[in-house]
Symmetry: C2
């Protein structure tokens, strides 16, 4: 394979973005790549099989600034993000050609990963590999950490999840049901609302775009208040949730997607509820908790297999 | 003493308040009171020695509403609040005439306390009794709980305290110095700023009313950011603090006094910092933590006596 050069389609980040990203903030281009790790390096060359587009990437499109926890993209360079790949060549003792991995790679056909220590070797392949950009990848661990580890959930508690049909939200709802909580989610279409109730096991769900009074919508769904809010959207939803939290409630602050494209962020007015209701708000980012990945993986794969078994049995009939 | 009736000056709450309270929202009146606990009752009759006026009382002046954690005052009834008193007569087995107590009493000369279980018997009388409305009372326990118990302070960390010269803030600064933190406070006059630095041991302080850019003021005082913010004021100060927190910072949310008289609360825009900096915000109220009072009292009295001894020795000379 040495010296073999192939063409490599790539998505290049053009320049910093203000407001909503547009198609032409990115450029599709192609260049040649040698399918080997530079000799003497500890780099790994992978063929990308799945690439994920995640909300945090919007932060990397803004000029480097205070609120960003990951470095901004470099204009003119390939966009980076989570993905699944197969090792083609490796200069690193932990990785070998043929290994399947997930982690930060590039939006291109082949990527040379210079610091492959961040890649995680894929242990279970009896599930679709794309799961490692979802439930078995970054969004899965984020949902688990934010809900199971940081929100102190207890059986019987009430849980509200925003952006509930997203990669993270749909898992939070399912983790909450496993613990025995009552879970309601919000999403932006009737189709998503139906999915939440029929497929993801939420007790109830509503379309936030159809509610002109979010406070009233939450009161309707939580007449006795919310014990745990899994925060994905921020802004007006957070403000309404604060009014509906119960005493000693917890808010896992995973993200605020409604704010990412705004230059002036929405106003939140009801923070005094934190005192009067003794609420704990905990921000977190998944990379801080990578050490929990092995235990999370075992838990998640078990449930995936159980659900797949149930589906198979249901298809075969009783 | 039985059947003895004396006149009892009282401050009556006239009606619910909107905006800033005014003198005539209260009425000074007088009525007669019998100086004994009704026979057969478990009530306690106390002579009030010190009464405290605390910020949370503003919440009790508003119409009963969602954000209030204590019941609103009853129009036409005496104002209640923390105070120090001497038991005159008692129908309760735990209290006897002559006992000194602190807790919730009335703004009047004598109060009949029908549920005296909430009163705490004063153990140490070698300090001014007024201390039981300050360092040895509710504000002291609030400062201790919010800082020592909920903010996980570590030696060498940076601490910012707003309303730093108030009953709570001045103690938070001193607790932080005892742990070996670097502490800066904000207050509303040069006199208070001087007091913070010369008497309360703060490393630095500034007058927030003289700063038109709070973000810049905080950057000046905390070039490397804030590990712990003890939140007493809310609004614009909180918004600026969020921009200046360090990763894994903690915010103890004790109160938001700048908001209490506003009908529309100030906007906070920078909450996405909770995620990017993995910040924990924890609201609390002192009554939830009364079980910590005995351990807090022992700690505080020790330091008060040590400081008094130092002052005496300094006055006598070397
Ligand atoms: N802290 C971490 O480590 C971490 C890790 C992963 C994700 N996150 C955060 O978690 C959140 C969800 O991520 P995800 O991976 O689940 O995203 P996703 O699968 O891409 O789903 C995002 C969904 O958010 C909803 N949304 C978009 N704009 C919105 C707005 N203005 N108001 C309300 N909802 C809006 C949309 O659904 P609707 O049709 O329902 O509006 C969208 O489908 C994001 O805030 C993300 O930044 C954080
Ligand atoms: N959670 C609890 O259990 C608990 C217990 C006690 C107190 N608290 C809260 O803790 C905070 C401080 O209480 P405290 O007993 O120390 O009060 P305090 O001794 O009465 O002092 C309050 C100080 O707050 C400052 N202030 C007033 N309005 C302000 C504004 N608009 N912006 C900024 N500062 C303002 C003033 O000082 P300046 O001249 O510096 O402006 C005032 O002297 C309050 O928010 C209170 O509600 C909470």
């Amino acid at each position: 394979m040495a010296d073999e050069k192939v063409s490599n389609k790539r998505i290049i980040f053009k320049d910093y973005v203000t407001g909503y990203p547009k198609d032409d903030d990115m450029i599709l281009t192609s260049s040649d790549i040698e399918l080997k790790a530079p000799s003497g390096s500890a780099a790994v060359l992978i063929k990308n099989l799945y690439l994920s587009c995640d909300p945090y990437m919007r932060g990397k499109m803004s000029k480097p600034g205070v609120q960003s926890y990951t470095a901004a993209f470099t204009p003119g360079s390939v966009i980076t993000g989570y993905g699944v790949g197969r090792v083609v060549d490796s200069g690193h003792p932990n990785f070998h050609a043929g290994d399947l991995v997930w982690g930060i790679t590039g939006w291109e056909e082949y990527s040379l990963i210079k610091a492959p220590e961040g890649l995680i070797k894929i242990k279970y392949t009896d599930v679709p590999l794309s799961y490692y950009t979802g439930i078995l990848g970054m969004p899965g661990l984020a949902a688990y950490v934010g809900f199971n580890e940081l929100s102190s959930p207890k059986k019987g508690e009430t849980v509200f999840v925003s952006a509930a049909s997203g990669a993270v939200g749909q898992l939070v709802g399912q983790f909450a049901k496993l613990i025995g909580c009552y879970v309601v989610g919000s999403a932006g279409s009737q189709e998503k609302v139906d999915l939440l109730k029929s497929k993801f096991g939420f007790d109830d769900a509503f379309n936030y775009k159809e509610e002109h009074d979010l406070n009233a919508a939450l009161k309707r769904h939580f007449p006795d208040g919310i014990d745990i809010y899994f925060e994905n959207v921020g802004g007006a939803m957070l403000d309404a949730v604060l009014l509906n939290m119960r005493n000693h409630g917890r808010i896992a602050v995973c993200g605020m997607i409604s704010q990412y494209n705004l230059t002036v962020k929405d106003a939140v007015h009801n923070l005094m509820c934190l005192v009067s209701k003794r609420i704990r708000m905990q921000g977190f980012i998944e990379p801080d908790h990578k050490h929990l990945y092995p235990q999370f993986l075992e838990l998640a794969i078990q449930h995936i297999r159980k659900a797949a078994g149930l589906r198979r049995r249901r298809r075969r009939g009783p």
